[in-house]
């Protein structure tokens, strides 16, 4: 007898997604996903049509980063899957929960170089947390369930489900209640109390402790506890690029990000510190710069959910593996029972001194970009969201945009993917429709995914794109000026198409502004627009983002 649970694999995908609470999929259909799309027609899930699969995966990623929920994207086999890959890899590097569903050629064609066949699982394996290929319709409910579970638990990350066309079209009795068999998969590790006590001892011995929050602190919502620890120790709170917003950057102990484009005072303080307490930070090369110098004459405590992060990049690290909130709570207990109040310590005076002198300081003379970014901050509410592209604009935003809440500063930190910001902004807007979403874009980056303007207009997803238009691949030009002896090669974009017209051609709004006053007016107007608005802001091509620590140098060797 056939029950209600007798259905095609394609329908089972949709049902399983609905069971996970999915309300939206970003994607582009193709031959190998036609059955899935046919089933979507009868389901409750909204499909948002991208114009390039890379943007579809960035949208899903932006949705995930803004909401904390799993973002879903989809593409057909072959070129669809390869286009989608960049966004999936971007999500992987920043531990963002994304489920990617790709169509595959029918099973009899797999391995035969059939039309639009690639080994999708093989290609994706190194950039996903897990990859699956259900080979019978019956496996679909469990595969989807596993994908969501794996993607959203432990150290989050993207999961691929590659589904052959005949598995979508075949029908069978489906079991949606079956659990998942994931015996080897540990989602949480209990922090070891002995280790936490050891860490607490280090804290008590330290004269100059500093807290470093990373992207993991946002995922675990560990900001409040990090602040409590900081206030107990009267220690400065720095962040990584990914950690921006974990702790409100206007807190009196916050010093902003460290790293290649960290603030002057944060880089100085972490260099002078004798103990770094990392919370969900992976001590990447862009954060620590020269790792040996970074940890010289200091100890590092690393709280992380992922045991493979322990001592990965630093030798003097005492790693505490586990949910960072749990580790922090335990640590606070130890510290509070033993800690003398440290408000007037020399370290705290040093913090105040550096902060008073350097907070918000623009190095290297006049620059337009920081002024624009500060004006954006003034106009936006705390919960509004900023995304960035990659390049100088991203670095300016890292330095001058104060993120006040978690999940309000969205950027491609690990992979540094140009073209990420705009589609990610659209995904973020879908997730948090009540918030304004602004993409801070370079003219080079924007041109990588500007065709998402079509999606934004057709699907009614209004965001604001601010183009810092310097007619160059600015960050490349900066390196060529500062590191390659002024030998300028292939970094001059020249006159781009008029972005205001480009926006209008898509049915969006576009304005070109003169100067910062004009910008303020245009931005206020854009906040009231009901369509996406592109604001084209001319920026002098020779602006350098400072401070800047070139690769291979240490944080004490900032160029200012």
């Amino acid at each position: 007898m056939q029950t209600d649970n007798y259905m095609s694999g394609a329908r089972a995908i949709v049902r399983a997604l609905e069971n996970e609470g999915v309300d939206v999929i970003f994607g582009i259909p193709g031959g190998a996903t036609l059955p899935l799309y046919d089933a979507l027609k009868d389901g409750k899930i909204r499909h948002i049509l991208a114009r390039h699969e890379q943007s579809a995966s960035h949208m899903a990623d932006g949705y995930a980063r803004a909401s904390g929920r799993v973002g879903v994207c989809s593409a057909t086999s072959g070129p669809g899957a390869t286009n989608l890959l960049t966004g999936v890899a971007t999500a992987y590097m920043d531990s963002s929960p994304v489920v990617a569903i790709t169509g595959q050629v029918a099973k009899p064609f797999i391995g035969k170089d059939a039309f639009q066949e690639i080994d999708t699982v093989g290609v994706y394996m190194p950039v996903v947390k897990y990859a699956m290929q259900p080979l019978t319709p019956r496996e679909i409910p469990e595969s989807i369930k596993m994908a969501f579970f794996i993607s959203s638990t432990g150290r989050q990350g993207p999961v691929l489900v590659d589904i052959p066309k005949d598995v979508q079209t075949g029908s069978d009795e489906m079991d949606f209640s079956r659990g998942t068999d994931l015996k080897g998969y540990e989602t949480t590790y209990k922090p070891d109390p002995a280790r936490v006590r050891e860490a607490a001892k280090l804290i008590l011995q330290a004269q100059r402790p500093i807290i470093l929050v990373g992207g993991g602190a946002i995922k675990a919502n560990a900001g409040p506890m990090a602040v409590e620890l900081a206030e107990t120790l009267m220690a400065p709170i720095a962040s990584t690029l990914m950690g921006k917003g974990a702790v409100p950057e206007n807190h009196f102990l916050s010093v902003g990000p460290i790293g290649m484009h960290g603030t002057y005072h944060a880089n100085r303080l972490i260099t002078e510190s004798d103990l770094v307490i990392g919370i969900g930070a992976r001590f990447s090369d862009r954060t620590t710069m020269d790792a040996g110098e970074f940890e010289r004459e200091k100890m590092i405590i690393g709280l992380d959910i992922d045991p493979t992060e322990a001592k990965k990049n630093l030798k003097n690290e005492l790693a505490v593996t586990g949910d960072v909130n749990e580790s922090l709570a335990m640590m606070l207990q130890f510290v509070k029972s033993m800690m003398p109040y440290a408000e007037n310590s020399p370290w705290n005076r040093r913090l105040k001194e550096l902060k008073d002198q350097f907070e918000g300081k623009v190095f290297g003379g006049q620059a337009v970009s920081p002024v624009i970014i500060k004006k954006v901050r003034e106009q936006l509410a705390d919960h509004d969201i900023v995304t960035t592209e990659v390049g100088q604009t991203q670095a300016w935003a890292e330095l001058f945009y104060k993120a006040l809440k978690p999940r309000t500063f969205i950027t491609s930190g690990g992979l540094g993917t140009m073209g990420f910001g705009f589609p990610a902004a659209l995904g973020a807007k879908v997730a948090r429709f009540g918030s304004n979403v602004v993409d801070l874009a370079g003219d080079g980056s924007f041109q990588m995914t500007s065709n998402s303007l079509a999606t934004s207009v057709k699907e009614g997803i209004p965001v604001i794109v601010i183009i810092f238009n310097n007619s160059t691949l600015g960050m490349i030009a900066q390196w060529q000026r500062m590191v390659y002896d002024n030998r300028m090669v292939a970094s001059w974009l020249g006159e781009s198409p008029d972005f205001s017209y480009l926006a209008k051609a898509y049915g969006a709004e576009g304005v070109k502004v003169n100067g910062t006053e004009d910008f303020e007016r245009a931005f206020k107007e854009a906040l009231n627009n009901e369509v996406t608005t592109v604001i084209d802001v001319p920026i002098p091509p020779e602006e350098n983002v400072l401070p800047f620590v070139p690769s291979g140098k240490s944080l004490r060797e900032m160029i200012v």
């Binding site: 699982v121 990859a131 290929q133 068999d181 990965k312």
Partner: protein, 164 residues
């Protein structure tokens, strides 16, 4: 001192597991010396035994990275001195030359003459190496080695265990 270490990896019997594991080593440009895969004593599980030249710190990092793979249940990592090692070697000779029989007898290898001349040897990999050197004095047609498989010794030292 040799830096050769053994990884014992208990995994779910799913497609792609071996690929995922070897990718961890390939990504950091480490050459795996040998891999042996076989069913374990628990249904649905396989055991992968890998031999690799790596220092203790590197081995620790690899063990963690391998454990992070979702299909991996447990990773045990040990220096070769802490393991009992065995490898099977099969050799086909041109002909049953005089002296071959003696070499085999010395090593405890089995010589079969049946539609061809075959030598079969099971022992520690160094002994296989020595035997093959001896056999090199005769005319060898073909060699196949299984790669080393192993068990941790009860008395073994410096054994790291991840997972359950």
């Amino acid at each position: 001192m040799s830096n050769k270490r053994m990884f014992f990896i208990r995994v779910a019997d799913r497609p792609g597991v071996l690929f995922r594991i070897t990718s961890v080593f390939r990504r950091r440009n480490f050459n795996i010396e040998s891999v042996a895969v076989g069913k374990a004593n628990i249904p649905g599980e396989s055991k992968i035994v890998i031999s690799i030249d790596v220092d203790e710190e590197g081995a620790d990092a690899f063990a963690r990275l391998v454990k992070r793979i979702i299909d991996v249940y447990e990773v045990i990592e040990a220096p070769q001195e802490s393991c009992t090692l065995r490898e099977l070697t099969l050799v086909r000779m041109e002909s049953n030359e005089a002296g071959l029989e003696n070499v085999c007898k010395n090593y405890g290898a089995k010589l079969t003459v049946n539609g061809g001349v075959y030598i079969e040897y099971c022992g520690e990999p160094q002994n296989s190496d020595m035997l093959l050197k001896e056999l090199g004095k005769y005319k060898i047609k073909d060699i196949s080695r299984t790669g080393v498989t192993a068990l941790v010794k009860e008395s073994g030292k410096d054994i790291l265990r991840f997972g359950h």
